[in-house]
């Protein structure tokens, strides 16, 4: 018997309609755990770099993490992996909600799609009964609407649906996959789903998930459950409200947006408005939020309330979480009411709430600069908010200028030319980033922005405070109760960290300490992504219930695998290296590991080079950011070094030295 996992993947060939239930090798679980780890292994094995993102040979994998469907609170993430049409690297967007546990209860760890359907279909997975059903009547329908229609059509209110909207059908590079209160938004995975002719997947499962050591596992889970309210009622002093407690930032609960509105940039990541958060704004925004928010809601088996049901009078209800509340508002220099309204349409269209507003603000900047002209925007209304709606409608339909913009800022800038590239000032690896422009280089964030391959800072940062607390006493107080650190040295790193003087940015933390801090944070995320654990209870907040010392115990109790802290750390390193190897094979090199030039005003090229060198060395990469033969061997991935050598990407080091 397999524990925690089902031991089966569902393979669906959309070209031929062939459907198979395939038993998986338990050794893969020992090496890569599951979720992101085993997704990456599948992509490495089955999608060579010659395969175009919109080729039938590209895979689209919906994976339930290893612990999804077990009683572990917060283990509910679906990890969707494919090759991104936008970055042309591996895409692994993730979402919470209810889909992953339902996939497990239906008897599968992953649903793997390949091929392309000749007509629009949706997959109906009902335990062992799996079919591809005609979706022509759903063509052009909104993502939320589609989920409702499918549940009605199947006559089962317990079915879980993930769907694309118009954007995915039209292969818009910012297209998301929407499900319940969640969405897998980044890197254009919705476009790949649309390209495959797959409108939605609908899942219903009524099978058991087994636990190897039941009593031990349940006791641990209950401790986690008890810790959550205790930790939440003791917010960390000195950090902004959304980061003081647990959870994915509780944007739906908290109305205090001073930090975001005054520190993040408005427009096309352009303007900082330092005194934005006045009393009037605060009252107005609070009223808006409370008037549209019907209920605070969670994902499967999680006591948090990070999401909300949003009902704006006059438009249909939708669900929201996190920062998309502000992205449209700030890109358009508008207010919160506009943000909630346009997000409804954007959710139905199924687009990434991070990238899309920036693309639209970018287009309007080009118009203002005369690089694009009024002729490029025929019929666009003159009012600011109307222009955003107009642009959104064009982009998801790929109409006129919308067709160019639908590829995202990076590609659109190059297509438009005529100096448009200058306005592409907030992308990393061809993907739009959070609108942040800061002053003094932060070495920790430099490394995370530069080297992160999830292309999203929130998926790398987390357990280490973002900034030092003003006094040593406060820092000592913070580390006093900090069992989460993998090593005592992290406490020293923090206690000695000052806002000003020698122990401040950019030369503090020192290079090695910086690498350690990045490594810890990144490792925790890679563990969560394999387990399907929500970062909001683990790798994202300060002092979370799950950490490097208790996760091995949890995994062992769930699966029966013997696992200690060091072994878990090594699995995370293996997964991280595997993702890097996939991207290296797709062309990623050192020169791609860089934040936008203007991310910080004060840059230190020499220090930045040292940081990259040291990080690569710690990770077992060579100076060009390529995993070395030696480290690949150490991580039981000699098959990768053989492939990279065959392709001439990894040179035989000995021969190299001789020549």
């Amino acid at each position: 018997m397999r524990y925690a996992e089902t031991g089966y993947n569902l393979e669906i060939d959309l070209s031929t309609g062939n459907i198979e239930r395939v038993e998986t090798d338990p050794e893969l679980t020992e090496l890569y755990l599951g979720g992101l780890g085993t997704n990456a292994k599948l992509l490495w094995d089955r999608v060579p770099p010659e395969v175009e993102p919109f080729s039938p040979d590209n895979l689209l994998i919906f994976a339930a993490g290893l612990l999804c469907g077990t009683p572990a609170p917060g283990a509910n993430r679906t990890i969707v992996s494919t090759i991104s049409p936008q970055t042309r690297y591996m895409a692994f967007s993730m979402m919470g909600g209810f889909l992953a546990p339902e996939i497990k209860y239906a008897g599968y760890d992953k649903v793997i799609f390949r091929g392309k359907s000749p007509k629009l279909v949706y997959a109906w997975i009902n335990n062992d009964k799996v079919e591809l059903r005609d979706a022509s009547h759903l063509q052009g329908k909104g993502a939320v609407e589609t989920a409702e229609l499918i549940a009605q059509e199947l006559g089962d209110p317990n079915v879980q649906v993930a769907a694309i909207g118009l954007a995915g059908e039209n292969r818009v590079f910012m297209a998301s996959i929407e499900h319940a209160r969640s969405s897998a938004s980044r890197l254009g995975i919705g476009a790949v789903m649309g390209d495959k002719g797959l409108k939605a997947i609908a899942v219903r499962g009524t099978k058991d998930i087994n636990i190897a050591k039941p009593e031990e596992f349940l006791e641990f889970c209950h401790e986690v459950l008890q810790y959550i309210p205790e930790r939440d009622s003791n917010p960390v002093p000195g950090v902004m409200p959304i980061l003081a407690g647990l959870g994915s930032p509780k944007e739906m609960l908290i109305h205090d947006e001073k930090w975001h509105t005054e520190n993040f940039m408005w427009g096309n990541a352009r303007t900082r408005i330092k005194d934005y958060w006045t009393k009037d704004v605060e009252e107005n925004w609070k009223e808006t939020q409370e008037s549209v928010r019907t209920r605070l809601i969670s994902c499967y088996n999680c006591p948090m309330k990070c999401g909300a049901i949003i009902s704006v009078p006059g438009i249909s209800t939708y669900m929201m979480k996190c920062f998309s509340k502000l992205t449209y508002t700030m890109a358009a220099y508008s207010d919160l009411e506009f943000g909630f309204k346009i997000a409804q349409r954007a959710t139905e269209y199924g687009v990434d709430g991070f990238s899309t507003p920036q693309v639209m603000a970018f287009a309007l900047e080009l118009l203002e600069a005369g690089i694009l002209t009024e002729e490029d925007f025929p019929g666009m209304p003159s009012d600011n908010e109307g222009r955003f709606y107009w642009l959104l409608d064009r982009i998801v339909r790929r109409e006129g200028i919308g067709d160019v913009l639908a590829d995202g800022v990076y590609w659109a800038a190059r297509k438009i030319g005529n100096g448009a590239e200058e306005y592409d000032h907030n992308t990393i690896k061809k993907h739009e980033q959070l609108p942040l422009k800061l002053s003094m280089l932060n070495p920790i964030y430099f490394l995370m922005w530069a080297t992160g391959e999830k292309i999203n800072i929130t998926q790398i940062e987390g357990n280490f405070p973002q900034a030092p607390f003003p006094t040593r006493e406060e820092r000592e107080e913070f580390v006093r109760d900090w069992p989460h650190v993998p090593h005592e040295k992290f406490k020293d790193y923090f206690v000695n960290w000052e806002l000003r003087g020698e122990n401040a940015f950019p030369y503090y933390p020192p290079v090695d300490a910086t690498c350690d801090i990045v490594d810890w944070q990144e490792t925790m995320h890679y563990i969560d992504d394999a387990l399907g654990m929500c970062a909001g209870l683990s790798s994202f907040p300060l002092k979370p219930p799950y950490h490097i010392h208790n996760l091995p115990i949890l995994i062992s109790a769930a699966t029966g695998m013997e696992l200690d802290k060091d072994e878990l750390w090594e699995i995370a390193k293996r997964n991280r290296t595997l993702v890097r190897a996939i991207n290296v094979r797709l062309g990623l090199r050192r020169e791609d590991d860089r934040p936008p030039d203007n991310h910080w005003k004060k840059r230190f090229p020499e220090l930045e080079a040292q940081l990259l060198d040291a990080y690569y060395e710690l990770k077992g990469f060579n100076k060009d950011g390529i995993p070395t033969k030696e480290s690949l061997h150490d991580l039981n991935m000699a098959y990768i070094s053989e492939d990279l050598e065959k392709r001439g990407i990894l040179k035989d080091e000995q021969r190299e030295e001789e020549s």
Binding site: P157, A180, D208, I211, L225
Partner: protein, 176 residues
């Protein structure tokens, strides 16, 4: 009159506090697995969430008695403008719906309030307090039952005559 008391176990359900996470379903099915907690499967749960997020309908319902026949009519409730499904508040395991039946065998499920525990596990796992356990004592009112029987028999005696009634009861007790 007897002084015997009986314990009444109650779960107070506050729909406004529910965040829709379904931990109640998960832990119920895990608790009732054999061996305990060795597996979980919300489809086996004795509490089910009726969820319609877009209509803001979040309703946990507990499994009650099995019934062989479905009702003659199906009702819908409208509360504060929200429509609750027909049978939404009903606890029966009944032929009209899938809820409260073992997914494999179709055998009916019934909430046992987790008899061995201090409080039902669904309550323990609902840290948002949408589910709160309460116990109260009620008098056992046996006399009332006696009175009811007498009232019923009197009505029958009036209708058929006392002799007829006595004969019938005598015949019935012989058969048993």
């Amino acid at each position: 009159m007897s002084n015997e008391k009986k314990k009444v176990k109650t779960i107070k359900i506050d729909l406004d506090k529910c965040n829709g996470c379904r931990a109640c379903e998960m832990i119920c099915s895990a608790y009732h697995a054999t061996p305990r907690y060795s597996s979980n499967n919300p489809a086996r749960s004795r509490i089910r969430m009726i969820r319609k997020p877009l209509q803001d309908v979040y309703l946990p319902v507990y499994a009650g008695e099995y019934t062989a026949a479905e009702c003659m009519g199906r009702d819908k409730y409208l509360i504060d403008g929200k429509e609750y499904d027909e049978c939404a508040f009903c606890r029966a395991s009944c032929p009209s719906r899938d809820a409260f039946k073992e997914p494999d065998s179709g055998l009916p499920l019934k909430c046992d309030m987790c008899e061995d525990e201090d409080e039902p596990l669904c309550v323990k796992w609902c840290i948002n307090d949408a589910l709160v356990y309460e116990e109260r004592e009620e008098d056992m009112e046996e006399e009332v039952v006696q009175e009811e029987i007498e009232t019923g028999l009197k009505a029958l005696a009036d209708k058929y005559g006392l002799d007829n009634l006595v004969d019938t009861i005598a015949r019935m007790s012989k058969k048993e």
